[in-house]
Amino acid sequence: MGLEQFKNRNVGTQNYTMVDAGHSPQGAMCQFKQVVKRTFKGELFVGLWVTMRSMIKALFANDMHTVKYPLEKLPISPRYRAIHDMLRLLESGHYRCIGCGLCEKICISNCIAMDTRYDENQRKEVSEYTINFGRCIFCGYCAEVCPELAIVHGPRYENASQQRAGFSLFEDMLTPIDKLNLQQEYDGFGAVSPNADENIKQTPLAY
C-alpha cells in the first residue's frame, strides 16, 4: 500500500469526487452565445407561466392546497404517534395497565414515571403515572413494549402548552369510563399483528 492517501492532508475531501456537470462557455463568443440563447429561449417565461398556471388552477379549478388547520383537520394515520392514550379492558372497564414498568424502562427520553403499590385485592396497582410531554419525543417505544396494549399513541396531536413541560396524569390519558364503547382498538406500534393467532405455539393445557 502506497502512502498516497496520507499525502493529501486536505482531510475530508478524500471521499469526494468531482463529477462533470456540463461545460461553462469558453471564451467571449461562447459566453455571448449562451447569454443570447438564455435570453431568447424563454426559460424565464416558462417560469412565469408555471406560476400563472398554478394561480389559475388555484382560483378557478379550486385546486387549493391550504388546510385551514384549526377548522379543518387532515385524517391521521392509525400509526401516527401523538399524545398517549390509556386503554381500558373492553369487558370490565378496568384499565389495562398492570404497572409492569416496561414503558418507564424503555423510554429513551426518560419521561415516563410511575408509582405502584400492593392494593387490597393483592394486585399490583398503579398509584401514579405521568408522562412529561415536554420531554417525550413520541418515539412509540412505550406503546411497542407494552405487553397489555394499555398505553398506546392516540390521535391527539395538539399538545402545545404555555409551559415548557406539560405533565399528564394517568386519568387524563385514560379512556373515560362512559366512553368505553367508543374506545378504538389500536393498530399502530406494538399492536397485535393480524396473524398473531397463527404464530402462537399451542400448549397442552386442557384445563
Binding site: 398492570i98 414498568g101 405455539k201 397442552p204 393445557l205 384445563y207
Partner: protein, 826 residues
C-alpha cells in the same frame, strides 16, 4: 468437609475437556462455580447442604450420571456437563417447572432477575409437553416482613435449606398441598428425574414449620434473598418497584459487628418526591447471610438535617469547652480517627463504655497471647471448623454471624458444639444432635474455659498448677451402668416423595449393662451439665473432629475477672490447637478499639455523639447538631472478620459532617474519606485511599472487600492464670443486658420494619409470673419496662435491652452485663 483445604491438597479434575483445580472433597458444582464453569442448578446453595430438589444439575462424572451438587470431586475425575440424555432431562425438568407457573412476569417483583426465567430461556423451552390441573394457592404473610406467594413457588427449597443450614431457625419447611395427582402415563413417557421432581413439586408447598400460619423466627429475610422466583418477598417491597429501577449502592451492614456485605437499593421516593429512598437491601446471598437488622433496618437515615449555621457555631463553641466526648460504636473508622485527633490536639476525653471493656480485654489478650487480634473469623469457621465452642455470648442476639457459623458447622461440617451461657436457649440445641448446652451460673465463665482446657488441651503443655486445679474437680468411682449402644442397620425403604427405593441407615439402640470405672468431671456438674452423661456424649462429639474453634462473646469483656479470662483464652489457644474469634460488642467496636485511646470515665462538659451529653451531635435527628447516619456517609468499618470494609452513602445528606467541625477546630482534609489512608498503620491498618479499596467477592466465595487488618504474632510465655473466683457468682434475680435479635441500637429502632420493642424479655413462665409491667431496680437506679415473653428463653434470668442510648442502661449496669436486681411489679 473434614480435610484442611490448602493449596497443597488441590486436586485436578476435567470439566468438558478442560482441566481445573478443585479442593479435595468439594462438590462438583462448587468446584465448577469456583472455576467459572456454568452448570445449571436451581436448588443448590453454595454454603448449604444439597437439597436435591431440582435435579437440574445432572452431569456425567466418569461416565456415570450424578448430581453435581451432591457428588464430590475425585482426583482425575472427568465431568461432562451436557450429554444428550442430560439435556433431555433438563429440558423436561424446566418444562415441568413451567407447567402452571403463573405468567405474571410483568408484575412479579422478581422483575427479570428470575432464575426460572433464565433457565427456561437457557434451556430454550419454547413449547410445553405436560399438563396438570392447577390448584389455587393463596398468598400469605408469614410474619411482619415475609410475604409468600405459593402460586409462584417452585418448591426448590432454597428457603428452607438456608433457614436450616445457615440461619439455624428452621422456621419453614415443605408442607403438603392438595395438588392434583400426576397422570400415570407420564411415569413411562417422561424422563425419570423430571417425573420424580414433578411428583414432589405437585405435592408440596412451603409453610412455617411450627404448623401455624406464622413463622417464629428471627425475621432475617434470608429466605427472600435466596428465592429464585418471586414467591418470597419482603412485605414492604411487594409491588413497590421493579428491580431494574433500583440503583445498588454497595455498603456494609451498619448495625452489628458482622459487617455483612449489603446493597442498599435506592430510587426516588415517588413521582412528586424525587429524593432518593432506600427500597430494600439485598446481598450476595451466595457468600453472605444477613440478619434481620442488616436487611430490614435500612431507613435510619437522618432526614431532618440541614446546614444550620447557628447550630454549627454552637457546636464549635461546645467542642471548645468540652472535656469529654461520649460516643458509641456506630461511627466509621474515619470518624473515630477524627475523635482521636481531637483528643490528641485538644485534650478531650473519649468516653465509650461499650468499647472500652472490649478494648481492655483485647489488650489483656494481646499481652497474654502475643496475638494482636483473634485468630479466626466466622467465615473461616464455616469453611473448615467441625467443633465450635461458644462462651459468653447470647448467640441468638449478640452476633448473627456467630450464630450462623455455629449452626452451619453443625449442619454442613458434621460438626459438634459446646454452648456455655447462663441464659437458657431453646434454639441452640436444635442446631445439631451433637450440641451440648451448659446453662451455667453467672460468673462461672472461667470454669467454662477450664473445662475447655480439660477437654482439649495438650496436657504436656499445660502448666502444673492449672493441671492440678482442673484435676481437683474430678472424682473417680466404679459404677454399674446401663449403657446405650447404638448400632447402625441398613435397610431398603420406599421413598414416598420420589416413589423410589432408597437405602436408609437406621440407628437401633440397645441397652447393655456394664461395670466401669467412671471419672466424674466436677466441672461439668458445676457448669450445669450432667457429668455422668457428658463423657459419653463428648466421646461421640469428638469423633472425626479436627478443627476446633472457640467463639467469645461480650459477657467476657464485662466480666469482673476479664483479665484472667483473657489469659485463660490465651492459654487455651496455646495448648489446645484451637482458633478463637471474639465478637466486637457493637458495629464498629473493633475499629474504635484500635483507633481511639478511650478513657475510663467522663467528666465535665460532655459532648454526646449519638449518646447523652450536654451538647448532642446526633444522626438520629434529635440532637443539637445533625450528623449523617451510616447509610448517608462514605467511610470504613471494621468487622468481626478483622477486615476493614468500605461503605458508601445510599441517601442524600444535607447537613454538616464531623469533618466540617474538624476543619474549624483543628484542621482537616477536604473529605471524610481522606482520613482513610491516615488510619494508624501500627494498629494493623494500611495506608490505602478509600477509592482504592476493593469491594467484591470471588466466584469461590473468597472475600475481597476492603482489606484484612494486619495482625502480629509475638512469641510469649504461657500466661499465669488464676483460679476461678467463686465470689463473683451472682445470686437472686439477675438481669442480663441483652437486646432482642434484630435490635442493636437507636438506629435499628428507628427503622420502620423492625418491631422488637424496648421491653423486658423473659422466658414464658417468668413472664407470666412477672405480669405486664415491672420496674427493674438496680443499685444505682431503676427502669420501668413492659414484660414480653420470649419462648426461646429458659431459666429465670431476664433480658434488659440497651438499644436505646437515651435510657442509660449502660450506666445502670455499670461495668457488667449481669446485675442482681429487684423486679417490682407495676
Amino acid at each position: 468437609m473434614s480435610e484442611v483445604q490448602t493449596v497443597d491438597n488441590m486436586i485436578s479434575i476435567t470439566i468438558d475437556g478442560i482441566e481445573y483445580k478443585a479442593k479435595e472433597g468439594e462438590y462438583i458444582l462448587n468446584a465448577a462455580r469456583a472455576n467459572d464453569v456454568f452448570i445449571p442448578a436451581i436448588c443448590y446453595l453454595t454454603r448449604c447442604s444439597p437439597t436435591l430438589a431440582c435435579r437440574i444439575c445432572l452431569v456425567e462424572a466418569d461416565g456415570k450420571q450424578v448430581y453435581a451438587c451432591n457428588a464430590k470431586v475425585k482426583e482425575g475425575m472427568e465431568v461432562v456437563t451436557s450429554t444428550e440424555n442430560i439435556l433431555t432431562e433438563r429440558r423436561a425438568i424446566m418444562e415441568v417447572y413451567d407447567v402452571n407457573h403463573p405468567l405474571q412476569c410483568g408484575v412479579c417483583d422478581k422483575s427479570g432477575e428470575c432464575e426460572l426465567q433464565n433457565y427456561t430461556l437457557e434451556l430454550a423451552v419454547d413449547s410445553q409437553s405436560y399438563m396438570i390441573p392447577d390448584t389455587k394457592r393463596e398468598t400469605t404473610n408469614w410474619s411482619s416482613v415475609l410475604h409468600y406467594d405459593p402460586g409462584l413457588c417452585i418448591v426448590c427449597e432454597r428457603c428452607t435449606t438456608v433457614c436450616k443450614d445457615m440461619i439455624g431457625d428452621a422456621a419453614i419447611t415443605t408442607a403438603k398441598r392438595g395438588g392434583a395427582e400426576l397422570d400415570k402415563s407420564y411415569k413411562e413417557s417422561m424422563p425419570k428425574d423430571a417425573y420424580s421432581m414433578w411428583n414432589k413439586l405437585q405435592k408440596s408447598v412451603i409453610a412455617p414449620s411450627n404448623g401455624t400460619g406464622e413463622t417464629n423466627c428471627s425475621d432475617c429475610g434470608e429466605c427472600i434473598a435466596v428465592c429464585p422466583v418471586g414467591a418470597l418477598a419482603s412485605r414492604d417491597f411487594v409491588y413497590q418497584s421493579n428491580a431494574w429501577d433500583l440503583k445498588r449502592v454497595p455498603a456494609v451492614a451498619a448495625h452489628s459487628s458482622d459487617g455483612a456485605q449489603i446493597y442498599y437499593e435506592v430510587k426516588p421516593t415517588s413521582i412528586t418526591d424525587r429524593t432518593e429512598k432506600i427500597y430494600r437491601v439485598t446481598n450476595e446471598w451466595n457468600y453472605v447471610s444477613l440478619d434481620g437488622s442488616a436487611r430490614f433496618a435500612y431507613d435510619f437515615q437522618n432526614t431532618t438535617a440541614s446546614k444550620d449555621k447557628a447550630a454549627f457555631d454552637a457546636a464549635i463553641e461546645a467542642f471548645k469547652k468540652a472535656e469529654t466526648i461520649r460516643f458509641n460504636a456506630m461511627i466509621t473508622n474515619e470518624e473515630a480517627m477524627m475523635l482521636q485527633t481531637l483528643k490528641e490536639k485538644m485534650g478531650v476525653k473519649l468516653y465509650n463504655p461499650e468499647v472500652k471493656a472490649f478494648q481492655t480485654f483485647l489488650n489483656h489478650y494481646e499481652a497474654a497471647s502475643g496475638n494482636s487480634l483473634w485468630t479466626t473469623d466466622p467465615d473461616a469457621i464455616m469453611k473448615k471448623s467441625d467443633f465450635v465452642i461458644s462462651i459468653g455470648a447470647a448467640l441468638r442476639n449478640d452476633s448473627p454471624a456467630m450464630k450462623y457459623a455455629f449452626n452451619n458447622v453443625q449442619k454442613l461440617n458434621k460438626g459438634a458444639g459446646l454452648y456455655f451461657h447462663p441464659v437458657g436457649d431453646t434454639l441452640i440445641p436444635t442446631f445439631g444432635k451433637t450440641v451440648e448446652v451448659f446453662t451455667h451460673k453467672v460468673g462461672h465463665e472461667e470454669l467454662a474455659l477450664y473445662l475447655v482446657l480439660d477437654l482439649f488441651a495438650d496436657k504436656e503443655k499445660l502448666p502444673e498448677d492449672v493441671k492440678e486445679y482442673i484435676d481437683s474437680f474430678k472424682k473417680t468411682e466404679t459404677k454399674t451402668i446401663k449403657e446405650k449402644e447404638v448400632k447402625t442397620v441398613k435397610e431398603m425403604v420406599l421413598n414416598e416423595e420420589t416413589g423410589e427405593e432408597e437405602e436408609v441407615s437406621k440407628k437401633v439402640t440397645e441397652m447393655v449393662d456394664k461395670e466401669i470405672t467412671v471419672t466424674t468431671n466436677g466441672l461439668v456438674d458445676l457448669l450445669g451439665g450432667d457429668a455422668s452423661k457428658f463423657d459419653a456424649a463428648f466421646e461421640k462429639m469428638m469423633k472425626k473432629k479436627e478443627h476446633f474453634s472457640m467463639m467469645l462473646g461480650e459477657d467476657l469483656y464485662y466480666h469482673e475477672k476479664a483479665e484472667n479470662i483473657a489469659k485463660l483464652v490465651a492459654l487455651v489457644e496455646a495448648t489446645c490447637d484451637m482458633d478463637v474469634v471474639m465478637t466486637p460488642p457493637k458495629s464498629n467496636a473493633l475499629g474504635v478499639a484500635l483507633i481511639c485511646d478511650l478513657d475510663d470515665a467522663q467528666s465535665g462538659y460532655t459532648i454526646g455523639y449519638n449518646e447523652n451529653g450536654d451538647f448532642r451531635l446526633s444522626a438520629l435527628g434529635d440532637g443539637d447538631l445533625d450528623m449523617p447516619a451510616l447509610n448517608q456517609q462514605e467511610g470504613t468499618l471494621c468487622n468481626i472478620g478483622k477486615r476493614l470494609l468500605p461503605t458508601n452513602a445510599a441517601v442524600e445528606y444535607n447537613g454538616y459532617e464531623l469533618n466540617d467541625l474538624m476543619k474549624v477546630l483543628v484542621g482537616a482534609p477536604e473529605l471524610t474519606i481522606d482520613w482513610t489512608a491516615m488510619l494508624p498503620t501500627d494498629r494493623g491498618f494500611k495506608a490505602i485511599a478509600f477509592d482504592d479499596l476493593t469491594n467484591s467477592f470471588d466466584n469461590d466465595g473468597s472475600d475481597n472487600r476492603g482489606y484484612r487488618l494486619e495482625t502480629s504474632n509475638v512469641e510469649t510465655d504461657l500466661p499465669e492464670v488464676e483460679k476461678c473466683d467463686e465470689s463473683a457468682l451472682l445470686e437472686g434475680e439477675i438481669a442480663y443486658r441483652c437486646n432482642p435479635a434484630r435490635q442493636f441500637n437507636d438506629f435499628t429502632d428507628k427503622s420502620h420494619e423492625i418491631f422488637e420493642a424496648f421491653a423486658l424479655y423473659a422466658s414464658t413462665e417468668k413472664a407470666e409470673a412477672l405480669g405486664n409491667k415491672v420496674e427493674v431496680v438496680f443499685d444505682n437506679g431503676s427502669i420501668t419496662l413492659d414484660v414480653l415473653a420470649d419462648e426461646k428463653i429458659t431459666g429465670d434470668i431476664v433480658k434488659v435491652p440497651d438499644f436505646k442510648a437515651a435510657k442509660g442502661v449502660y450506666d445502670l449496669f455499670g461495668g457488667s452485663r449481669y446485675k442482681t436486681v429487684t423486679l417490682r411489679k407495676v
